[in-house]
Amino acid sequence: MSEKLRIATTSLAGCFGCHMSLLDIDERLLELVEVAEFDRSPLTDIKHCGPCDIGLIEGGVCNAENVHVLREFRQNCKTLVAMGACAINGGIPALRNSIDLRECLTEAYIDGIGVQNPQIPNDPELPLLLDKVHPIQEVVSVDYFLPGCPPSADTIWKFLTDLIAGREPSLPPELVHYD
C-alpha cells in the first residue's frame, strides 16, 4: 500500500471507555499501524484534525466545544463513525436530560453537600453546556454506528478491518449480542 490510511479519534461526552476498548485490541494495534496512522486522537495528542479517512467519535454532545470538535471531524473525515452507546444515544450523560439545567448546576455548584465558595462557573475558557445531551447524529451526519458500551475490542477490530479492506462493515450477532 502506497500511503497509509489516516484515522482520527476523540471522546466528547464519554468516559474514554470506548478508547480503552480500542486499545484492548492489544497486539493487533501493530497490525493496524501497518496500514493506518493516527491523526488527532488522545493517543497522539495532535490538537486539530487534518484530512482523514476514518473518524471515530466516542460520547454524545453535551457542550459548545463538543459541537466544534464534532464539526471539525465531520469536515475532515471521509467516514464518520459513532462509536459506542453515548455517541449513538447520549448514554449515561444524557440521564441529565430530564433535569432542568439550572437545577443540575445549582445542585452541583451551589446547594450540594460540601460545596465551598458556591458559584456557577462562568469563566470564558469553559465551554457552555447545552440544555440537553444529544447523540452525535443530531448534530452532524454520521456514516456508521458501532454499538456497545463499550463496543468490544473484537467489534472495533472487525469493523475497522472491514472498512479498511473496502468491505461494507458487518457485525455478526455474537458481537452485538449482550446477554
Binding site: A64, R74, L101, L105, N122, L128, L129, L130, V139, S141
Partner: protein, 601 residues
C-alpha cells in the same frame, strides 16, 4: 401531603378496596376514582394499594403512567382537554387552545399555580362532526367557539360547579344523516332474545352464519366463526366483551349507537353470551365517552328489571348473564382486542402475543369473544330479521351495511349508513363535499384516496374501514395531515416494543424537521428506512400501520417532501444556539464562544 390528607386518602383507598373486593383486576377503576377525588393518584394511595392488593408498587405506577387520564401530579380542579384530531384542527382548535391558555394564564400541560385549572391536548374525542370538541373533567364539550371559550373562563375562575355550566356546552347530537338496514330498524327490547329462545342457540348461530356478518371494527373477521370457535373452546368460564374503545381518529359511530341503540347492543351481547355459554360480559367504554356511563348503567338496570339480564333471562332456566361497564382511561391501543383484555384485567394495555387468540385465551385466560359495538347491534337485528334479510344487501364478500362517521370538509358531517359496495363518489355527493384534495378512509392507520379513485367502493374487497371517513378539501396541506397522524401514533405508542416506542418518536421528529424546512436529502433517506423498520419490526398493529401515512405519501407525492429539503449536507433538527440559552443565563455570558451557528459553514 399533610398527615390529615394522608389519613383521608388511606381511608378512601380502604373503602374502594373493600367495594372492589380486594380484586387487582379492578385496579383501573379504583385508580379512576382516586384520580377523580384527588385530581391525581397521591403517593399515599399508591402505597396503600400496593400493600392491600399485594401488587408491586411499580405495577401500579406503571398503570398510572400508561393511561392518559391518570396522573401522578395534581391536575387542575378544572381539567380542560382539547381534542387534537385533524378534524378539530381544521375547525380552528389551535387558536381556541391558545386563546383559552392566554385568558386563563396557563401553559398547556402545566397546572396553574393555584391548582384551579389545567389545559392540555387529548387524542380524538369522537366528536369530529361537532368540533372543535374537548373534555372538561372528563365530560365532553362540543362546538367550541371563541365565544364559548370566553364564557368558560369565568366559570372556571369563579369555581362554578360543572353541573351549573350552561347545558348547551354539553349538548351532543347524533347527526344521523342516512339510515339503512341497521339504523332504520330498532327491534323492541327483548325481541332478539325471544327469537333466540324460540329457535335455539344452534339455529341462531346458523342464522348469523347465513347473514355473512363480519366484524365491524375494521379487520372483518367472520362473526359466526368467532362465536363458534369460542363456544367450542375449553374453559371453566366464557366471556363476551363489547369493544367500545372507539379511538381511531375520525370515528364516532359507536358513540351514536351507544347513545340511541344501546338496547340493541346489549341484546347482541346477551345473544352472544347464550350462544357461547358466557355468564358475564363487559362493555369497555372509552374514557372519552364517560358522559354515556350513567345512561348506560341506567339502561342495564332497566334491562335487569325487564328480565333481559340477570338470572333466568326471559324465564329461561339457566340463562344467566349480566354486563358490567368498564370505563377506559385514555389509551388508543386498548382498541386492540388483546390490549383491551389486559386493560380489563387491571393492567397496562399492552397487546398480547397472538396466537393464542382471545377466543381460546382471553379475559383471565378464558375463552372470550371481543366484538365491535356495531357488530353486536347487527347480530341482534339479524336474530330478529333473519340472516337472509342482512345477506341480501351488500357485496359478495361484504354483507349488509356499514355505518360511517363522516367529518372534515363537507356540508353535512355526521353518521351515514351505506350498503357495502357503495362508490365513494355517491357518499361525497350525499354529504356535500366538493373540491376535495382526498379522503382518509379508515383513520390514520387506513388509506388516503385521491379524486381519481372515487369510483372505488366501500367493502372488505376494496376500501375497508372501521368507520372513519375524513374529507379534506383542496385548501388543506397533505403534510399537515400526515404530521397530525404521525404525532398521534407517537403519542399513542404503548411503549412495549422499541421499534415502535422509539421509532414513532424519531419518525415524528424527522418529519417535523423536514416539514419545517430544516431537512436535507440525508434526512429523507433516514425517514424512509425508519418507516420500513417500524413497519417490519413492531410488535402489534399500531406499529405496523404507524408509518403508513408517511410511506404512502412518500411513494405517491415525493415532491411534497423534496421541495422542502435544504440544499446542504446537514442541519441539526433542534435550535443549537437556543440550546445554550439556559447556560448563558446561568453564567451571564454572551461572548462569541457562548454562541453556536445553526449550520456549519
Amino acid at each position: 401531603m399533610h398527615s390529615t390528607r394522608v389519613e383521608d386518602c388511606k381511608a378512601f383507598v380502604e373503602t374502594l378496596i373493600h367495594r372492589y373486593q380486594c380484586n387487582p383486576t379492578e385496579l383501573i377503576r379504583i385508580l379512576r376514582e382516586i384520580q377523580d377525588r384527588y385530581r391525581h393518584v397521591p403517593d399515599a394511595a399508591i402505597e396503600a394499594l400496593a400493600s392491600q392488593l399485594s401488587l408491586p408498587r411499580s405495577r401500579i405506577v406503571g398503570v398510572i403512567e400508561f393511561y392518559s387520564f391518570l396522573h401522578t401530579a395534581p391536575r387542575g380542579r378544572y381539567d380542560v382537554l382539547l381534542s387534537d384530531s385533524i378534524s378539530d384542527h381544521m375547525l380552528g382548535k389551535q387558536s381556541l387552545m391558545d386563546d383559552l391558555c392566554r385568558k386563563l394564564g396557563v401553559a398547556p400541560g402545566v397546572t396553574r399555580a393555584d391548582g384551579q385549572v389545567s389545559v392540555d391536548n387529548t387524542s380524538c374525542t369522537g366528536l369530529c362532526d361537532q368540533g372543535p370538541a374537548g373534555l372538561v373533567n372528563g365530560y365532553a364539550v362540543t362546538r367550541l367557539t371563541s365565544g364559548r371559550i370566553d364564557r368558560m373562563v369565568p366559570l372556571i375562575n369563579e369555581s362554578v360547579p360543572l353541573a351549573e355550566w350552561p347545558s348547551d356546552f354539553f349538548a351532543i347530537d347524533d347527526n344521523i344523516r342516512r339510515a339503512d338496514l341497521l339504523l332504520n330498524e330498532r327491534p323492541e327490547p327483548g325481541a332478539a332474545l325471544a327469537a333466540l329462545l324460540e329457535r335455539g342457540a344452534d339455529a341462531l348461530l346458523d342464522e348469523i352464519d347465513r347473514s355473512g356478518l363480519r366484524g365491524r371494527g375494521g379487520a372483518g373477521f367472520n362473526t359466526a366463526m368467532k362465536w363458534r370457535f369460542c363456544r367450542e373452546a375449553e374453559g371453566d368460564a366464557h366471556y363476551v366483551v363489547c369493544n367500545a374503545d372507539e379511538g381511531e381518529p375520525g370515528t364516532f359511530k359507536d358513540r351514536v349507537l351507544l347513545d340511541s341503540y344501546a338496547d340493541q347492543v346489549f341484546e347482541g351481547m346477551t345473544l352472544c353470551a347464550r350462544i357461547i355459554g358466557a355468564r358475564r360480559g363487559f362493555l369497555y367504554l372509552r374514557g372519552e365517552y364517560r358522559y354515556l356511563l350513567k345512561p348506560l348503567q341506567d339502561l342495564l338496570a332497566q334491562r335487569r328489571q325487564k328480565g333481559l339480564l340477570g338470572d333466568d333471562i326471559l324465564g329461561a332456566t339457566g340463562f344467566n348473564f349480566d354486563i358490567d361497564i368498564h370505563l377506559g382511561a385514555g389509551a388508543y391501543i386498548c382498541g386492540e382486542e388483546s390490549a383491551l383484555i389486559e386493560s380489563l384485567e387491571g393492567k397496562r394495555g399492552i397487546p398480547r402475543n397472538r396466537p393464542p387468540y382471545p377466543v381460546t385465551h382471553g379475559y383471565l385466560g378464558r375463552p372470550t369473544v371481543v366484538n365491535n359495538v356495531e357488530t353486536l347491534a347487527a347480530a341482534a337485528a339479524i336474530a330478529v330479521h333473519g340472516g337472509q334479510w342482512f345477506a341480501a344487501v351488500g357485496t359478495a364478500k361484504s354483507k349488509g351495511t356499514k355505518i360511517l362517521s363522516i367529518c372534515g370538509d363537507c356540508a353535512r358531517p355526521g353518521i351515514y349508513e351505506y350498503p357495502f359496495g357503495t362508490p365513494i363518489r355517491d357518499i361525497l355527493t350525499d354529504c356535500g363535499a366538493g373540491g376535495t384534495l382526498g379522503i382518509q378512509v379508515g383513520g390514520p392507520s387506513g388509506t388516503f384516496i385521491e379524486p381519481g379513485e372515487y369510483d372505488r367502493r366501500l367493502g372488505f374487497e376494496d376500501l375497508a374501514t372501521g368507520g372513519s371517513f375524513m374529507i379534506f378539501d383542496a385548501s388543506r396541506s397533505l403534510l399537515d395531515i400526515v404530521g397530525n397522524f404521525t404525532h398521534f401514533f407517537a403519542h399513542e405508542s404503548c411503549g412495549f416494543c422499541t421499534p415502535c416506542r422509539v421509532g414513532t418518536s424519531l419518525m415524528k421528529n424527522t418529519l417535523d424537521k423536514i416539514h419545517s424546512g430544516h431537512g436535507t436529502a440525508g434526512d429523507l433517506v433516514e425517514l424512509r428506512s425508519l418507516c420500513e423498520l417500524i413497519k417490519e419490526h413492531s410488535h402489534c398493529g399500531l406499529g405496523h400501520t404507524a408509518a403508513n401515512p408517511i410511506i404512502e405519501t412518500l411513494e405517491r407525492f415525493p415532491d411534497l417532501y423534496e421541495q422542502r429539503l435544504k440544499a446542504i449536507v446537514f442541519e441539526p433538527g433542534f435550535d443549537l444556539d437556543g440550546a445554550l440559552e439556559a447556560a448563558r443565563q446561568l453564567t451571564g455570558r454572551d461572548d462569541s464562544a457562548a454562541h453556536l451557528q445553526q449550520v456549519d459553514r
